[in-house]
Amino acid sequence: MASKNNEAHWEKTKGLMRITLALWFFFGYVVFMFGHDINSMSFLGYPLAYYMTAQGSLAAFVIIIFWSTGKQQEIDEEHGVSDAGRDD
């Protein structure tokens, strides 16, 4: 069986996964459910829904993935289970 520390680590990992996927779901799908409605707004001169599919959601994914990776690293280090710097 997993130790208490490992179980706590996994609980936090699961929590982070849920938040990450919720953000992913928002920028990947929710925005485009309302594509027709938000396209009359504009951003940088682009119609908003067009902007989101051309650039906005893509950039959001990049930010989310770097943020989530950093958070996971913090969780790993907090529980002393990180393997960063391993050279095998």
């Binding site: 490992n6 996994w10 594509g35 599919t53 893509l58 960063a84 095998d88």
Partner: protein, 610 residues
């Protein structure tokens, strides 16, 4: 100049390489100014870059299993990101994506969202855990987590089906580019392309593919971004196109109103003898179609591409090559960043290309001019001669309308530099970029297939006592066999029947997504459940594809789930079967559960011991 270990010198080596490549481009520009023909420049570009890749492939030769299968697990984060980006961005992404956006507008751009968002699934759900597991191939994970040859073989089956659907399109693309650049017939060019692909992978397996893919990424990203910035500045659209084309997008919407978006009838197209495969502008550029069905079409395509991304073995296996679990995770983030650089430029290229052709205020425009005048333009004549462009005066008024100018979608990337009046050296560069994109993806796919056959089928199932030398010989023989078979299919030009690249994502999603994810996230998942899920999901997806596929039974799709989206049938069937059968069978033994606990923790030894 390069002292110490190869890995420590990577930034220097690839820095020198990038400088050398730019110097080569400048040299070609000088040659062009001195009267070298466009054809010779094209040949030099493709030949020079392919030679470099083959040389890297030769330098990376190896006789060690871990170097051959996982590049010795020493690829640094950022470089693995570049290699994955090259692995990911296919000839289709490079050559056809901007064209798809040009003709399809907003609706088509679901692909952009789908082909980037999937990486969040890869990084959150899979890559770090598979790296901790320490397998050589994706079926290796399935085979060990669930146990037994049946599970392993089912995973190999899905892998081969998905990857092979994808690889013929890539070999086809290398053939098309090589045939145009070198001026040889397509049927020969396919094998020239294959020979270049195999030179990059045969001697060094994953290690050679990794280092050539990094080199190919550098060429393809320069070849994509340079023309976008140059064209934008040349036609005065803005210094940094990505943030400055808002006006142009609005201008296109206005022009669509004044010029009118007309759909041609099939009969009119037939009467005017418009060749098949050539498209014309009939969809709005940035307008979003109204209605729930239109939104669902967009979202459902994005779902399939994202979930498919997270199930494609040639991508997942790239993260087996990093030194640690945390490096694998960061490497996924870098991959997405490098992919983003190209994908967020594609809509800009499509916009620039469209505005250059349809805005009467820009001198390069052709729409609204007299057909006789347009037919006198040099690039129109050249691309018409090779069947890529077609003009038909459908309404007989002698003026070229939006719906009267036809071209193949690849022309947007390949010809826009010429249209905007850039020197030919840029077109040569673009050809080299397309070749790099198609070759790098083909290499990754062929390696994924042959590694699964050599490691999982031959070594794990047929001959577990085989020594390393023998395993690596078998691996290479299979590599060549898979490549030649792919090239043979491509040379028969069956790709129309083999279907679209999107199918590869749907196959992978139907059979592999849930067995992989639940293998990590659900301890209760059992062997019987996984086997039922893989085979059931694949069968359901394939059956539905046959049911709706336009070249098969062509029945009306349910809820807009057409042949590009059949994974939406396969994956849920896979999930339900996996849960029901897992719960109906006995829970996995303590050893398996311990293994799952181990892969969830980054620290410590890999589970498989490789």
């Amino acid at each position: 100049m390069f002292q110490g270990k190869f890995i420590d010198n990577l930034p220097k080596i690839y820095g020198t390489y990038t400088g050398g490549f730019l110097a080569f481009c400048l040299l070609m520009a000088v040659f062009e100014a001195n009267g070298m023909s466009a054809k010779t420049i094209g040949i030099l570009f493709v030949a020079f870059t392919v030679f470099i890749y083959a040389f890297i492939g030769y330098l990376s030769r190896t006789m060690q299993a871990s170097a051959y299968y996982v590049a010795g697990r020493e690829v640094p984060t950022v470089f693995n990101g570049m290699a994955t980006a090259a692995d990911w961005m296919s000839g289709a992404s490079f050559v056809a994506m901007a064209g798809g956006i040009y003709f399809g507008g907003y609706t088509y751009m679901a692909f952009l969202v789908g082909w980037t968002g999937g990486y969040i699934l890869v990084s959150s759900l899979l890559a770090p855990y598979l790296r901790k597991f320490g397998c050589y191939t994706v079926p290796d994970f399935i085979g060990t987590r669930y146990g037994g040859n049946v599970a392993r073989f089912a995973a190999v089956l899905v892998l081969v089906l998905a990857s092979f659907t994808y690889v013929t399109a890539q070999i086809n693309a290398t053939g098309t580019i090589a045939s145009r650049a070198l001026g040889i017939p397509f049927e020969t060019a396919v094998y020239v392309g294959l020979a270049s692909i195999l030179m990059c992978s045969m001697l060094g397996g994953m290690r050679a593919v990794t280092w050539t893919q990094v080199a190919q990424y550098i060429v393809l990203i320069i070849a994509y971004l340079l023309p976008v910035f140059w064209i934008s500045n040349k036609i005065g659209a803005g210094f940094f196109p990505h943030f400055m084309l808002g006006e142009e997008v609005q201008r296109i919407a206005e022009l669509e109103k004044t010029l009118g978006l007309t759909k041609n009838s099939a009969a009119a197209l037939k009467a005017a003898k418009v060749p098949g495969g050539l498209a014309y502008i009939s969809n709005p550029h940035s307008a979003v179609p109204a209605g729930a069905m239109a939104a669902w079409k967009f979202i459902s395509l994005a779902i399939c591409m994202m979930v498919g991304t997270a199930s494609l073995p040639h991508i997942l296996m790239r993260y087996f090559t990093t030194p640690s679990v945390s490096a694998a995770r960061r490497s996924v983030a870098w991959s997405l960043f490098f992919i983003f650089l190209l994908y967020f430029s594609a809509p800009m290229l499509a916009t620039l290309s469209k505005i250059a052709l349809i805005d009467p205020n820009i001198p390069t425009s052709i729409i609204g001019k007299s057909i006789a005048e347009v037919q006198g333009i040099k690039w129109v004549q050249e691309w018409t001669a090779v069947g890529q462009v077609f003009i038909a005066d459908l309404n007989g008024d002698g003026i070229l309308g939006l719906n009267e100018f036809f071209m193949r979608s690849g022309v947007v990337v390949l010809a826009t530099p010429e249209v905007a009046g850039l020197p030919y050296v840029i077109s040569g560069l673009v050809a080299a970029g397309g070749m790099a994109a198609a070759m790098s993806t083909a290499d990754g796919l062929i390696l994924a297939i042959s590694n699964a056959l050599s490691h999982d089928v031959y070594y794990k199932m047929i001959n577990p006592k085989a020594d390393t030398a023998k395993r690596l010989i078998v691996a290479r023989v299979l590599l060549v066999v898979v490549g030649v078979f792919g090239a043979y299919i491509a040379s028969m030009r069956l790709t129309g029947i083999l279907g679209s690249v999107a199918w590869a994502f749907d196959f992978a999603m139907s059979g592999l997504f849930f067995p992989l994810v639940l293998g990590v996230w659900w301890k209760r998942a059992t062997r019987a459940g996984a086997v039922a899920g893989m085979l059931g999901g694949l069968a359901a997806g394939t059956a539905y594809l046959i049911y709706v596929g336009p070249k098969f039974m062509a029945q009306t799709p349910w809820l807009g789930i057409d042949h590009l989206r059949f994974g939406l049938i396969g994956a849920p069937v896979c999930l339900i079967l996996m849960i029901v059968v897992s719960l109906a069978t006995e829970e996995p033994d303590a050893k398996t559960q311990q293994m799952v606990d181990d892969i969830r923790i980054p620290a410590g030894k890999t589970v498989s011991g490789n």
